[in-house]
Symmetry: C2
Subunit: 209 residues, 2 copies
Amino acid sequence: MLETPRPDTLRSDARDNRERILAVARTAFGADGLGVPMREIARRAEVGPATLYRRFPTKEALVIEAFAEQMALCTSIVEDGLSDPDPWHGFCTVVERVCELHAGNQGFTAAFMAAFPHAIDFTTTREQTLRAVGELARRAKAAGHLRSDFVISDLLLVLQANSGVRAESPADALLAARRFAALQIQGFRASPGAPPLPPPARLPLLPVG
Amino acid sequence: MLETPRPDTLRSDARDNRERILAVARTAFGADGLGVPMREIARRAEVGPATLYRRFPTKEALVIEAFAEQMALCTSIVEDGLSDPDPWHGFCTVVERVCELHAGNQGFTAAFMAAFPHAIDFTTTREQTLRAVGELARRAKAAGHLRSDFVISDLLLVLQANSGVRAESPADALLAARRFAALQIQGFRASPGAPPLPPPARLPLLPVG
DNA sequence: ACGGTAGTGGAACACCCCGTCCGGTTAGCT
DNA sequence: AGCTAACCGGACGGGGTGTTCCACTACCGT
């Protein structure tokens, strides 16, 4: 656990390295999940392990920084959905885009669902985003298009489920995510004759595996 | 990689140990996935690592033997569905029961989807089962209840997705699986106004992770 | 009862991972 | 040009996992 100076006070080459590390981490974690070793990240970034650890004192820190912008993207997706005049259309767009986002970022779902001990902002952002989704769902229900027994944790359910889908290429992953999202939307749609859903379960924030 | 004599020619104590190991493996892999270490299996079975490896030359072998009966159960679930006079009802039951089965056996999905190099029967059983599902789906489509753009790999998609769902207790896992299955069925149901699904993706048989 | 052999448990091997530290080197800044 | 921050690469410790070695044990037929 070394010192970590503010990124903007770094020497230019150090700054470059930092950016390269983050880029590599995003690609690697996104493609192969959080299991990618730190040394592998360092190797691909053409950097020594020590450099990596000087910039990011722990793997957790690297993961959080690497996915910070995905997290922001996630939030903005939901905000876009909220600002859609048609709440059901907004809701569908959120489901689609979130599934696609997670499809291209295998590790992100794990990070998103994980209970990182040292990432307060990550956690709070997630909570806020979920609250926004709740508001969107409320409107979509009021409009009569979202089934009335939908609950927020259903979206977590779908997210977790989507993360279980593995494809053999990024292109296939995207296809699978799109098809999956479409199926979920169909399942969420309010339809008169449909039977009610079984009761929801409590979904945990799991430790990083 | 040691010799592995036929189970029925074993000495009595060895036979006992073998059974205990299998029982422990089923519970452990079922509850916590294939990540459970061999040592842990041995410890819980009150057996040394060597004993474990004398009976099952590799972890893969243990996994296959442990889930052999789940595999058979899987097959019989599909056959039950096929023999249902109402193909759509049969189809729904298959989805529900398979999701529940996989919910209680975390590791099984991984094993089911995995491309085990040395498990010919496992693979062939899976293929046969999938073919049976295909026949069931054909009938359910003909009856007009299953959406016509359903393809077999959609079931694999749902299976993979279901395996991504994690709960904090077996009871919650079952609840989550039931709710998830209900959502999927709703998505699979043929409904006149529904838009067609995006194209399916090729899903791989992944190596054991 | 007894001896041979299958069976056993614990230590050990080989490998991988995270995180750390250090000697010698490079590259930015002034 | 020189000072210094930053870097590289390798080695190390601690922990984990799949698998094997070996001396000992306990079963079972005679």
